[in-house]
Amino acid sequence: MEEVLYNILGAVVTFIVAFVVGMTYGGLTRKITARVQNRKGPPFYQNFIDAFKLASKKTAIHHGVMHLMGPAFLMVSSVMTLLVVPVLSGNNWFPNLNFHGDLIFLLYIMTFGPLGMALGAGQTGNPNSAIGVTRGLSQMVGFEIPWVMALVALMIQYKTTSITGLMDAQAQTGTWLMFSSPFAFIAAVMAMFGMFRYSPFDIVGAPTELASGPVSENGGKFLFVMMSSGSVFTFAKLTLYIDLFMGGASNLVILLIKTFALYMIPVLYGITSPRYRTEQAVRWFWGWPTFFGLLAIIQAVILK
């Protein structure tokens, strides 16, 4: 019983950290984007204000049971990802579910949310939502290829499919995987562009054409859950990258520095780019990123 309570406490704490960090990053992104586009932009804590407002709203209408469940599906995926990814290396953080799932499991649990959400969006009947979903799924097929290639390269090089195993491998050799497996890192980062959906890969929400796509029929608490899920997910994914390629982080400060640095890559790349069409995006991922993924696998096979 105690163990269960301890686990729940760990999950809650991790969740809160992830929520705060993710929201802050989101706010900073808005600020940075605004500055680049020569606007003043909202304050960096604007997202917290939005979230608080949304969370305090009462739900008035719904479109049916799947619509109600959509946000919960999304949250399951984000939180599960968060729980499986080790937040800090060493044993100075709650282990959560770190040792209960491996990378393949993670890949699948990460797709769980978008699909559940897609069902919720589907039931609203808004055609824009469905269009957004189809775009999102197509894009996912695109970026999963280089992403999986990068992961497979790591797995075969170190003969393990668990995240902690890869972290241990880095700790033993003392080199970050982004240096020892540069191609895998490049492919993974390029896949990250798609994962974070900043332009030019913001085809899912596409604020101007699809009115934000899947989320368009969601307001109030629905939107709050989605927003916080997005923030948590962002944090979880960044942590995963750090764990895999940059040796993990031994305390929170290092974690924040590393994640922020990594986070800026897609943000800055995206700010100045116009949006791709869906098929262009998909093909983009099957071009250079996949090529690098292939190089990564070749490298891994040679070095194995």
Partner: protein
């Protein structure tokens, strides 16, 4: 073993009786039909112990029927799915024509599949194999649509496969002089290299056709979608597994002993991978749910083929587990399509939409089936997918794993299309009258859905029999104690512990569901799908907001280059060429008596000319 005789007697007698009972009353027919399927199922699982056998002889050939663990596993698929599909059929066939025909062939199919898995000799194996082929063929042409093209294509491919197998059987017989499978396996080691290579190829040809492997899959989309859905769930779920069953036996007992076996297995695995990828892409393109599921079956069988042809213990487990899962979820999904077809009269995504509130139980079954198909945790499909990936990675198939990953990610597209197309989206007035399907149809679907959920966390229920079956085939049991728990392992020691994951998922899900609904669910009200914001405007009542045509267009544009070539076209071209040849041959018979007389003279002259060579 008398039970075997009783079971097959009930099957045969019941099939014939059911056929004629239709003249009496349809209720009697239904009851007889159910009894004919369910009683032998009960007898088999209660009365037949593993290891029992029944030798007998026919036409001077010694035959042997028996059950081993491996056969038992597949008989579980056959009879389990067969019983559920039988219950479903009763609802599905209500008010349809040719009921006797349907029931007869249904029973014969179940019987022949059971026969295949209990055959311990090649002759009864082949006989049951052919009965299975023609009874399923009769089901494919049940609807009468395009029988000359779809039906004959199915039969021709099956026959090519079956005849290849027959050839292998008689070749084996000419060497060993018995038809026992056991003896064939024994003698295989002493055969000449040429035979050692050709016999597995010939056998695999037959099994690959049934398992719809590229490039022999072209019959599958038409056949699966043309058969009545109640049967297709069995067709795709269990009948195609017979190909897998045979494949496993041949691969394990023959190919693995061959020095060149590795090449065999690689080729087969790659063909399986390509099947999976291409099947998925074609499934995304389909607008008809039957076709979509048919291509999806092809793709899913591709995964299974990959698993069994890699052949490590984990891969074999993965392949067989996926086979069981595929029987469950594809059985369910075809039943779902059947229910929708029954209630609405169409299976086209561009016509039916927004059924979720009208057919909630069907939706539940469909959702479970789709989640399992997509391989998303915490349902059973994930277990199979996980083991497949892990086995591919740990056995150095790096590019193949990418291909498999691509196809299973792309599978999300058609999964979503299936759910959205039928159940979600705008609720049209046209379908306002639709009711939930009758209980006989819903119950089997929902039962299978629940079973998939259970398997997602407690895969040991199925992994254990699989493990026993693999031990029968000579695998060393390295994980036995682990398969009983709800942990899945790979050979590097990485694992997924399923129970905490299930509980976490459920906990988080329920927490946030409550969060969204907090402060009075009563306060929220349902609004129709017309009551939405479309770019800031509220659409009018008569505005058409249904999105179903060109659903995955952007993605299809992205993959257009690989879809330009169709295997089917090559086959059609070949067939047309053959027909031309046949026509030419037909013209030899001119119908002119003088010509025939000349033929006689020419014959004599030719034979006289070559008489020294000939005699």
């Amino acid at each position: 073993m008398e039970t075997f005789s009783i079971i097959f007697a009930i099957f045969l007698g019941g099939a014939v009786l059911t056929y004629f009972a239709g003249k009496l009353s349809s209720v009697v027919q239904d009851i007889l039909f159910l009894a004919t399927v369910l009683v032998p199922t009960y007898l088999f699982f209660s009365g037949v112990s593993i290891g029992s056998s029944m030798p007998f002889s026919l036409e001077g050939i010694s035959l042997l029927w028996g059950v081993n663990h491996f056969g038992w596993l597949f008989s579980l698929i056959v009879l389990g799915l067969g019983s559920l599909a039988a219950v479903y059929s009763v609802g599905y066939m209500k008010g349809k024509e040719r009921r006797g025909y349907f029931y007869l062939n249904f029973v014969l199919s179940v019987m022949s599949m059971l026969g295949i898995v209990i055959s311990q000799d090649l002759i009864s194996f082949f006989i049951f194999w052919e009965i299975m082929t023609w009874s399923s063929y009769l089901m494919v042409i049940y609807s009468g649509n395009d029988v000359q093209r779809i039906g004959i294509k199915y039969f021709v491919f099956s026959a090519i496969g079956a005849y290849a197998m027959l050839m292998a059987i008689v070749i084996v017989h000419s060497v060993t002089h018995t038809f026992f499978i056991e003896d064939m396996i024994q003698a295989y080691g002493q055969m000449s290299l040429q035979l050692q290579i050709w016999i597995p190829i010939l056998f695999l040809l037959a099994f690959a056709v049934k398992a719809a492997m590229m490039p022999l899959h072209v019959w599958a989309p038409g056949a699966y979608s043309n058969a009545p859905m109640a049967y297709t769930s069995l067709f795709s779920g269990a009948l195609s597994k017979m190909g897998v069953y045979g494949m496993v036996i041949i691969l394990v007992t023959m190919v693995n002993r061959l020095p060149q076996g590795i090449l065999f297995r690689e080729v087969l695995a790659w063909l399986g991978g390509i099947t999976a990828a291409m099947g998925t892409l074609w499934a995304i393109k389909q607008d008809d749910a039957k076709k979509l599921l048919a291509y999806s079956s092809v793709a899913q069988l591709g995964y299974i083929i990959v698993g069994v042809s890699i052949g490590t213990e984990l891969a074999m487990m993965a392949g067989l587990f996926l086979a069981v899962m595929h029987a469950l979820f594809k059985g369910t999904l075809f039943m779902v399509v059947g229910a929708i077809e029954k209630q609405t009269g169409t299976t086209n995504f561009t016509e039916v939409t927004g059924l979720i509130r009208k057919m909630p139980w069907t939706f539940f079954a469909a959702l479970m089936g789709i989640i399992a198909l997509a391989g998303i945790p915490p349902l059973g499909g994930f277990i199979g997918k996980w083991m497949l990936y892990e086995s591919l990675i740990t056995s150095d198939h790096y590019l193949l794993v990418i291909l498999i990953f691509f196809s299973s990610t792309a599978a999300f597209l058609y999964c979503y299309k299936f759910l959205f197309g039928f159940f979600l989206g705008q609720e049209e007035k046209e379908w306002a009258h639709v009711k939930e399907a009758p209980a006989t149809m819903v119950v089997p679907m929902v039962l299978m859905g629940i079973f998939m959920v259970v398997l997602g966390t407690f895969p040991g229920i199925v992994l254990n029999p699989i493990n026993n079956g693999l031990m029968d085939l000579g695998y060393v049991d390295s994980y036995k104690h682990l398969w009983e728990t709800s942990i899945i392992f790979n050979s590097w020691g990485d694992h997924v512990i399923l129970q905490p994951i299930l509980y976490s998922i459920m906990g988080i899900f329920i927490f946030f569901l409550i969060f969204v609904l907090w402060k009075g669910y009563k306060g929220t009200r349902y609004v129709t799908t017309k009551d939405i914001s479309s770019s800031g405007e509220v659409p009018k009542e008569d505005e058409n907001l249904t999105f179903s045509v060109g659903f995955m267009q952007p993605f299809m544009r992205a993959v257009a280059p690989v879809m330009r070539r169709q295997m089917d076209k090559y086959y059609t071209g070949f067939a047309n060429g053959l027909e031309g040849l046949f026509d030419f041959v037909r013209r030899i018979y001119t119908g002119n008596a003088q010509t025939y007389a000349v033929y006689v003279v020419v014959f004599i002259v030719i034979v006289l000319l070559f008489k020294d060579v000939l005699f």
